[in-house]
Amino acid sequence: MSFHEKSAWIMGVLLSLTGFWYISQVWSRSEALGETIGPNIVLIAVATGMLVFGAIISHIIIAASSPEEANDAEDERDKQVLRRAGNISGYVLGFGIFAGLWHYYFLADGNMLFHIAVASLIASQVAEYALTILFYRRGV
């Protein structure tokens, strides 16, 4: 397994966990309040902090376990895999934003628009990591 594929696995798992935690926090606080909570910078900062901390630690570990591969630059296959995964994940983001805008158009809930945009960002990034792994394994 290449360093890029290991990195995609780690980032996919970390982002899924932190994303799930963030969305569950927004959900439970909104239920308690009886309406959609506004953008919460503390929640976002904590989720981002957890993600960055986990990413740094895990990348140090995989780089230490195979230092030669960690130093490999992206080759033509890596670029093709990452470009294709990024292209398709862009549709996930676009769909989420589009759905959020229509939701806002009908219900005028700006807070929900914010959360849908954040959730779409998380979903598209997780999709990108999942597709990266798929293309590395099944071919581009």
């Binding site: 290449s2 591969e69 490999d72 080759d75 296959r77 890596d78 798929l134 071919g139 581009v140």
Partner: protein
């Protein structure tokens, strides 16, 4: 779902016939990662034309001695 490219290759056979050249050594010669050489040998990735020529030059054979179109894959 990613489709397997309709191109066969003899990279593994040529590499082994070339004093048992390692995948890592071939990867270094042509400027890709070892995982890419593995993917080429397993038919999961078709290299760029430049890399294909580089592989052929390493083994000092023609391009079609390394890569062949898989007619059966078109059916």
């Amino acid at each position: 779902m990613a489709k397997r490219p309709p191109i066969l290759n003899r990279v593994k056979a040529l590499r082994e016939a070339h004093d048992g050249m390692s995948q890592a050594a071939l990867a270094k010669e042509i400027g890709v990662t070892r995982q890419t050489v593995i993917a080429i040998e397993q038919g999961r990735y078709s290299p760029s034309l430049e890399s294909a020529f580089r592989i052929a030059r390493v083994f000092q054979v023609g391009l079609e001695d390394v890569f062949q179109w898989d007619d059966t894959a078109e059916a």
